[in-house]
């Protein structure tokens, strides 16, 4: 199997020192004309990017404050004429956001839990314990990266509805989201590559002290693997948080009360006034925005590895 083609996550902070040379040289920028042009371009970029990326979010949050008639008024108002914070309250109740939020968190953290247990141990085994046939198993895991899960929608659904041999029906149970999320070759790949870089001498030292493999994993390997565990955890949570089609099928399709935020708001959108839909969407976005701002550095640094998932 080809080694996976993914740039190693780079350090979050650039080293201090001279700026690396880019397209336009610093000396060119230091000329009076260069300075003026640079200032203009910088201002334009900041203004345009703010408009393009924050502008829509402004409407997302402010239109939830409008009354139902004002939200569909022509022409749309930039600033709500009358503030109706109560829209948020009624959106919360009408869409049942509390329940949706609880469901989504339950699915997301459950998936994180199972991925941390099974994927970490599997990657550790493949990297350090090297069982017979481990290379083949790893290759078969990586091969699943070539087949995106949406393609397997139908057989996956049928399998989850009736697990072979065990004859269990997982539809409607949180396990229908948790367990398939473990089959994540990318996370195993990231973890294995990190464990590969843990010096073998450390493990030998632990073994001489009589530590079992589990003990070695817990007391030696995991404490130095925090950065990669953070990256993998973030991917795990975000993937469940953003997923739409799979929870639509296995949870909502079973019982609407088990739907996730994405599905719940989508299903409510048809029968709910526009301002309530926007207020609900805004509230659904808040946890992810906060999550992003808090873990920004981990997310952006893990990204060069992460978003190549495709």
């Amino acid at each position: 199997m080809a080694t996976l083609p993914i740039a190693r996550p780079r350090r979050a902070r650039a080293q201090p020192g001279p700026r690396p040379r880019t397209l336009v040289s610093s000396s060119q920028l230091n000329l009076p004309r260069g300075k003026i042009i640079y200032r203009i371009v910088l201002t334009l970029v900041v203004v345009i990017f703010t408009l393009v990326f924050i502008g829509p979010l402004y409407f997302l949050f402010s239109d939830g404050l409008k009354s139902t008639t004002e939200a569909v008024q022509v022409p749309p108002t930039l600033i709500p004429a009358h503030l109706h914070p109560s829209t948020y309250v009624s959106a919360w109740n009408r869409v049942g956001l509390g329940r949706l939020l609880f469901n989504t968190l339950y699915y997301a953290f459950g998936a994180l839990f199972f991925q941390l247990i099974f994927d970490v141990t599997a990657a550790y085994s493949l990297s350090k314990l090297r069982p017979a046939g481990g290379k083949l198993i790893f290759a078969l895991m990586l091969a699943t990266l070539m087949i995106p899960s949406t393609v397997l929608l139908v057989p996956q659904y049928i399998t989850v509805a009736n697990l072979p041999i065990l004859h269990l029906n997982l539809i409607g149970s949180p396990a229908a989201i948790w367990l398939p999320s473990v089959a994540n070759a990318f996370n195993i790949f990231l973890l294995k590559r990190f464990f590969d870089s843990v010096p073998q001498e450390l493990l030998h030292a632990a073994a001489i002290d009589g530590a079992s493999p589990l003990r070695t994993l817990r007391s030696v390997v995991l404490p130095i693997s925090r950065p990669i565990l953070a990256v993998v955890s973030i991917f795990a949570l975000v993937a469940v948080w953003k997923d739409f089609l799979w929870p639509l099928l296995v949870e909502y399709g079973y019982n609407p009360s088990r739907e996730t935020l994405n599905v719940g708001i989508f299903e409510a959108a048809n029968t709910t006034p526009q301002n309530l839909v926007l207020a609900a969407s805004a509230m659904a976005a808040v946890p992810t925005v906060i999550f992003f701002l808090v873990f920004q550095r981990n997310i952006l640094s893990g990204l060069t590895a992460g978003s190549l998932k495709g």
Binding site: P56, V72, P131, M146, Q156, L245, S281, T304, G306, S307
Partner: protein
């Protein structure tokens, strides 16, 4: 213990050597058991939710199930979907989306990354801005765009109206010509949502270009455009082609964008119906009889097409490893 015994006896007899071999075999076996024990959870999950469904999909595409009885159907499922006019519509739309998404969603992040790489200020802020939409729940982002796109009270038509430009029906446009306005609207929303990832990957690639190359080009009197053409693009060619493959694979699976924007995904006159959406429709949305057979056959077709691109991607990256 074993190590000490070995040191104590520098010249072991044949008997001792044999027993040591047996002990090391036992140790190996024990290690293997524990190693497989660590693997088993993940392997079972892969088995049930990835490897088995993959085989099952191929098998099911050659089977038919009628009244609960499953029998072999040969190529019947494939012949049936090839004769379904919607099959071709869905493929045409998916290719249309892929090409449009590449024109916009592939080139724009590259030039945005070049621009960001030149700026000496507000770097962190701009990076966060570009990536913020990627973190939003897709429903929130897409319902917001559906609101902007609304032909009567939407923001976009209001802006066009203020500028005295002709307004549009956006995603609700009925046209099926290529490119259709409806699909362009889906692409705009999808690009806004997803361009952050590609932009930051390009940015990382740009920072790996050795600065001396630019200096040398300047000595030769190269201008900005020439430097981009002869240095920036060739130097990032590998990451450009890798992302191209990945984007093709990702965009060909388009589902949620059209599904939420057009409330079901088909659009007007099926003009935003994608292949994944057709799989979904075959399997789950047809009134009453769910048709897993056709859905599996279509799934296999999509799998083969995507495998070509995934394979190219792997080949490209293998190339890099071997110099």
């Amino acid at each position: 213990m074993v190590a000490i015994a070995r040191k104590a006896d520098p010249d072991p007899g044949p008997h001792l050597a044999r027993s040591r071999a047996a002990a090391s075999l036992g140790r190996k076996a024990r290690r293997n058991v524990s190693a497989h024990g660590f693997l088993i959870g993940a392997v079972l999950c892969f088995l049930f939710f990835s490897w088995y469904p993959m085989c099952r999909e191929v098998i099911m595409s050659f089977q038919k199930t009628q009244l609960g009885v499953t029998s072999w159907a040969g190529w019947a499922n494939y012949i049936r979907i090839f004769h379904d006019p919607t099959f071709w519509v869905a493929w045409r739309n998916t290719l249309e989306f892929t090409v449009l998404a590449l024109i916009v969603g592939y080139a724009v992040p590259f030039f945005v990354a070049i621009l960001l790489n030149e700026l000496r200020h507000a770097k962190g802020y701009l990076r966060c801005l570009v990536y913020l939409p990627v973190m939003l729940p897709p429903t929130s982002a897409l319902l917001l765009f559906a609101y902007f796109y609304d032909p009567s009270y939407g923001l976009f038509n209001d802006i066009l109206h203020t500028l005295h430009l002709p307004t549009s029906q956006w995603v609700q446009s009925p046209g099926t010509t290529i490119p259709s306005m409806a699909m362009i609207s889906v692409v705009i929303a999808a690009t806004w949502m997803n361009m952050g990832g590609a932009t930051l990957i390009y940015l990382a690639a740009l920072q790996n270009i050795p600065g001396e190359l630019y200096e040398a080009a300047e000595l030769d009197g190269a201008g900005l455009v020439k430097k981009i053409r002869h240095i920036t693009i060739p130097q990032t060619r590998l990451i450009l082609s890798m992302l191209l493959m990945l984007q093709i694979v990702a965009t060909m699976q388009m589902f949620v964008e059209a599904f939420i924007l057009t409330n079901g995904g088909a659009g007007v006159n099926d003009n935003t119906l994608s292949v994944v959406n057709l799989i979904y429709t075959y399997a789950f949305a047809l009134s009453g009889a769910s048709n897993y057979d056709s859905a599996s056959a279509l799934g296999v077709v999509l799998m083969l097409v995507l495998a070509v691109f995934s394979g190219t991607y792997l080949w490209l990256t293998r190339d890099r490893d071997h110099g």
